[in-house]
Symmetry: C2
Subunit: 424 residues, 2 copies
């Protein structure tokens, strides 16, 4: 049943009702081909918030994503605005020209059903699942680095007049309910007593108590919470972890931008980096006799480095050709002698994004181990002692990133530190 406040024209789709809905959209119908009664419909949503249907016809397939009026994982006791579908489609439209084929094509948005009909990504898999299986995707680090560079640069004050950004800020500031989720679940609850928190117990009890008693750590996390709410640098995806990336060996796509808003670029960078680091620490839990995953951990670290380097170089390359915004405008640096100052100013912007990335990565790691929503990278490790060791190592790394940021001047420093935090 829809919640109070849900528009009366809204109804929850199911596999029986999806074909008639699709058949009412001539262009999408044509894409599938044949007749609606012959289409195959499967519900495949494994996220926390939505229904996701794959519809297959003789000529093609589409994906139908519908917002539910509550948090799926928690049931109807946790109501949730349907409007997030509108923010998702608004995000896709806002970044489409910048990121090209790195997002799925959107075919249709139904504002009454809060439902997006879009490209069906096949044979793509969720990156997080691939990482658990030890699969390699040679473009993924580079692609996501480039994705964040393109999406954020072109929605920032470095590229666009402030009027465009202010319009975006006004639109996405309405995404209050999803911003509230991040504030609570990422920046607050992990650091205080909350009925929603959980952790591998009793193994991590002591570590978690120590974490919640670490004043310096809590202050550092709160500083990133402040940045999350205060720094409207660019349009950010808002939930760019390895479960929001679909991959094949060659191809990379970013999905699920319903948490989108104007925020710090480091939040997207940190979400992806943090989840790669979680994967790295989870690998001992997925080792087999045939594969100790040590080589795979090396591959993850290569992706970590490629990710940051491609972000940095792509962002700077875009900036060199598109400095049409109001911050550091080209018109202020027209003399040949200005070139050095401008270049170092741009470098300083990237250095600040690097620092932000590490802090946000740490916050995202911590919340996945001691907060409400965990990751299957760890949850699928059956042996709870082994799982706790993996999680404890990841927590140690995250705490170091937050409380000793000066130890990390380069992405190589991060890679070098990872094994030092391993708990046996």
């Amino acid at each position: 049943m829809p919640e109070a406040g849900t528009p009366s024209s809204y109804r929850i789709l199911d596999t029986a009702s999806v074909p008639a809905f699709i058949a009412s959209l001539p262009e999408v119908h044509a894409r599938l081909g044949g007749q609606a009664r012959g289409w195959q419909v499967r519900e495949v949503g494994d996220g926390n918030l939505n229904l996701v249907f794959i519809v297959e016809g003789p000529s093609g397939s589409v994906c139908v994503k519908q917002a539910l009026p509550y948090v799926r994982v928690a049931g109807s006791s946790w109501p949730m605005t349907l409007e997030r579908a509108c923010f998702e489609v608004s995000y896709y439209r806002a970044v489409a020209s910048a990121v090209g084929r790195l997002i799925p094509k959107v075919y249709h948005y139904d504002p009454e059903l809060y439902c997006i009909v879009m490209e069906c990504l096949a044979p793509h898999v969720i990156l997080r699942r691939g990482l658990i299986l030890g699969q390699r995707y040679r473009n993924v680090g580079r692609d996501i680095g480039e994705y964040i560079a393109r999406a954020s640069f072109f929605t920032s004050d470095f590229a666009r007049p402030c009027e465009q950004k202010l319009e975006g800020i006004a639109l996405f500031a309405r995404n209050k309910e999803l911003i509230r989720i991040t504030v609570d679940l990422v920046f607050c609850d992990p650091y205080r007593a909350s009925a929603r928190n959980r952790h591998t117990a009793p193994q991590l009890d002591e570590i978690v108590a120590d974490l919640r008693g670490d004043g310096a750590l809590k202050v550092a996390a709160a500083r990133f919470g402040e940045k999350f709410l205060n720094e409207a640098q660019a349009l950010v995806h808002g939930d760019l972890h390895s479960g929001s990336v679909m991959v094949t060996e060659e191809d990379t796509r970013v999905i699920d931008p319903e948490f989108a808003f104007y925020g710090p670029v480091g939040f997207d960078l940190g979400a992806f980096l943090g989840n790669l680091l979680l994967s790295w620490y989870s690998q001992p839990g997925h080792a087999t006799r045939a594969d100790d995953r040590v080589g795979y951990q090396r591959w993850i670290l290569e992706q970590v480095e490629l990710f940051w380097q491609s972000f940095r170089s792509c962002f700077l390359a875009l900036w060199a050709d598109n400095a049409q915004g109001d911050v550091l405008p080209a018109s202020m640096f027209t003399r040949p002698e200005d070139a050095g100052a401008l270049e170092s100013a741009r470098g300083a912007v990237l250095d600040r994004l690097f620092t932000d990335m590490l802090g946000f990565a740490a916050c995202k790691m911590i919340r996945r181990i001691v907060g409400f929503a965990h990751v299957i990278d760890f949850d699928w490790i059956q042996d709870s002692d082994l799982r706790a060791r993996c999680e404890g190592s990841a927590l140690a790394m995250a705490r170091t990133l937050l409380t000793h940021p000066a130890q990390f001047h380069s992405i190589q420093d991060v890679a070098d530190a990872l094994p030092r935090m391993l708990r046996q």
Copy 2:
């Protein structure tokens, strides 16, 4: 004539039409008393953007402020949105409960005439004029420090749940045309060739050329432009110079918040500080045989220190009692051992605001000497050589604040530096 896009119900008021407008508002009519035909109406606007009428009746008086569809100082060739009146009244309403008697009372807002009817401040004078005359207002530094503390704290993430702030951000992000003015006139034009710029010539030609060739200075100014557009810390007034403050010997009021938006708190702090420093440097230009203004400069410095100290202590005192926001929430720091970490985190927030204040103050000083809109503190100095020396000293101070921020750890450091920058 209203510009294209002006609503048809809009008409420009004049002294002849104001009484009938006021007479149509029963509460305001009652406040004035008597009959409309007996009211005295004067147009007193001396700002750049609006008409301001004082209406006096037998029982009382009111002020009528109407937005014009163009920049008054530039004439109809520079069209300007009428909507700024809506942002002004929205700002007053948003901060009224926090700042109490430090703003005028708003009696009525007419959304079709873009016209605010409010308390007539008498015998108040514009602070800037008082500073030129060498008048002392013993509460002004303390009052404005407390004003900014109260208005910004209660609209920040330290005091309010993020949903409230996001609603404010969405509303004030529509104030695009006035934000554009600040971006261009404060953070860009002074540092590049622009037909709108002017300076005292030829005396300052060399200094201005040197300033526009100083890469490090331009980068520092651009960094504050970035903060202006990116850091939505709180609802800020947006134009809080000494021309936006009205005073009597005892009373202080903040007016003209039409540039309001969610931005960095340091921008309001810096606007006020920067204009006090401009006044300090302008004093030799207003010296007479009877008063060399040296004692008055000392009084200005006392106000500078009182201003920052009252801001800081008021902000911290409010925080101690009202930590109900989402950043550094009290619920994360409940253990006795957390008190020290929390206190130092709050101190660090204030330290960052101090640093921001100095940078924004410098930007505001520079733009008033080499940009479009100057200040009468300098413009009223008839002797152009003397004026240029005063302006040159202020520019030297502003450049030091921007390019050597590490020299200034306390407001006393600022006060100590001022005389060192004096040019003879």
